[in-house]
């Protein structure tokens, strides 16, 4: 079997390949207006020890974590409710489908008027965007539960709630986890975007605004790259947990 190290190695090769390709393309002079990949990486490395950036990152991290935690806490129960009660879902579906395509970016100006606390504003926008993957994946996950498994528990006299918690939830859990994983990245994207659009005292997005004001494209991209890197780490962590918890699913 492949080991963890070959996986890491291959992943590194994949990333390196992409970067080298980009560097070569830039050096070949097709896109002279972008800073070189090597420059950006150097800046990114500098940023990781830059106090100002780190405090910005901490602030973004806070709104990301708060937003994601609330998303999970709200999204899964609602998803379970709707997934388990198709009639209720049919009733609220128009509302959901109406709200879903409204860009959070468009809502920010309106949200600014409602939330006076920076963290509240940011978390609210994060939740608004990140809850959909959790919700939709939960609903679809519940639809995919084997009816025989559900009937088994029902036949033992368990009520709908017990069936939901003991069969539907575990059996849909892997798919819900995928939804959370999707939401985690969406939350990162939104945590930064809301700062970009709404500004604030600190945050990676605010750092990018500053860099933009100074015409420092290299810093803007470097901050973006670090954001992506964070997303990568978060995902690796999620996948590792999923692999452990949902071993039964791949072995089957």
């Amino acid at each position: 079997m492949r080991t963890r190290s070959t996986r890491v190695l291959r992943g590194a090769v994949g990333v390196a390949g992409l970067l080298v390709a980009a560097e070569l393309a830039l050096r070949a002079g097709h896109v002279t207006l972008l800073p070189l990949v090597s420059t950006v990486l150097l800046r990114a490395a500098e940023l990781t020890v830059d106090g100002e950036f780190l405090s910005a990152a901490a602030s973004t991290l806070a709104s990301w974590a708060a937003g994601l935690a609330l998303t999970v806490a709200v999204g899964i129960p609602i998803g379970l409710l709707l997934g388990a009660m198709p009639k209720v879902e049919a009733v609220v579906r128009p509302l959901i489908e109406f709200l879903r395509p409204i860009p959070s970016v468009a809502l920010i100006p309106l949200a600014i008027l409602v939330f006076t606390e920076q963290l509240h504003l940011r978390a609210a926008i994060v939740i608004y965007a990140a809850c959909w993957p959790v919700l939709i994946n939960t609903i679809y996950g519940l639809k995919d539960v084997d009816p025989v498994a559900k009937e088994t528990l029902r036949s033992f006299g368990f009520g709908p709630l017990a069936v939901l918690v003991r069969v539907s939830l575990p059996s849909a859990a892997p798919f819900i986890a995928t939804g959370i994983r999707l939401a985690a990245s969406v939350a990162i994207v939104l945590a930064v975007s809301v700062e970009l659009v709404a500004g604030g005292t600190d945050g990676v997005g605010v750092y990018i605004i500053k860099a933009g004001g100074g015409g420092r494209t290299d810093l803007m991209i470097a901050a973006t790259v670090l954001t992506g890197l964070f997303g990568l780490l978060v995902n690796v962590a999620f996948v590792a947990v999923e692999r452990k918890v949902f071993r039964w699913r791949h072995a089957r």
Binding site: F156, G157, F158, R252
Partner: protein
């Protein structure tokens, strides 16, 4: 105890059950046989309250079954899908016992005991997908037996185990049934088995299923794998059931 009165069921436009009439007394073990696709599983699902009959009524202790009745256990024909892949065999068996308000330790003890009875003492920690078909089937039997239901529905419960294990399980069911006074409705394709196990054998006709025959099995209890099967009544009944299934015709006795 259980009264099935003119029950019909239609899936969409397809009629699976064509008016089944059947009564089970308390503590009775009734075997149901019939051709493949005649509606045996459907009948069991109706009794379990998992599907609503489209016609007729089902009474349990005089009360119409609208939901799943209390104190019921089912061994599904599709046993592999009825086990939860995220739980070990022991956990699968122990799960329903929560309904009985048993604490963790006694759930565990009961589960281990039931697994031992079906010959899986060593496989308690295995996950369903680490087990052979026959082992999975035995887990699902253990789960039902550990639950000690007052009504037990079994759909082809011994189809995937070898002859020896099958006999052991048959005797286990007979013992548990007698000991705890369960009422059992057991679907099987094995005519010998139906006669060996049943207090009565009910033969369903080709789809849409109706009761084509209902034979009292007057064999001495306790049954014995060798003696009973050599019993003259056994041989006669076996032939009778065979004839009923084959021909769907009533035996001379009943006309």
């Amino acid at each position: 105890m259980l009264e099935i009165i003119d029950v019909t069921h239609t899936y969409g436009a397809y009629q699976a059950l064509g008016g089944v009439k059947l009564t089970l007394a308390e503590g009775e073990l009734v075997c149901v046989v019939g051709p493949s696709g005649c509606g045996k599983s459907t009948l069991l699902r109706c009794v379990a309250g998992l599907v609503q009959p489209t016609g007729g009524r089902i009474l349990l202790d005089g009360v119409p079954v609208s939901q799943t009745p209390d104190n019921l256990a089912v061994v599904f024909q599709d046993y592999s899908r009825s086990l939860f892949p995220w739980m070990s065999a022991a956990a699968n068996v122990a799960l329903p016992l929560r309904r009985k308000g048993m604490d963790r330790a006694s759930r565990r003890t009961a589960a281990m005991e039931a697994l031992e009875q079906v010959g899986l003492a060593g496989a308690a920690g295995k996950y369903p997908w680490e087990m052979s078909g026959g082992m999975q089937q035995r887990v699902s039997i253990a789960r039902a037996l550990a639950y000690r239901p007052s009504l037990l529905l079994m759909d082809e419960p011994f189809g995937s185990v070898d002859a020896q294990t099958r006999e052991d399980l048959e005797d286990l069911v007979l013992r548990v049934c007698a000991h705890h006074g369960m009422t059992i409705m057991l679907v099987t394709h094995d005519i010998d088995e139906s006669v060996y196990l049943g207090d009565r054998v009910v033969v369903l006709s080709r789809s849409p299923g109706t009761v084509a025959g209902d034979l009292q099995v007057s064999l001495p209890s306790p049954r014995d794998q060798i003696a009973t099967r050599e019993h003259e009544t056994f041989v006669r009944l076996r032939a009778e059931v065979g004839r009923l299934i084959r021909g769907n015709q009533l035996s001379p006795q009943e006309t």
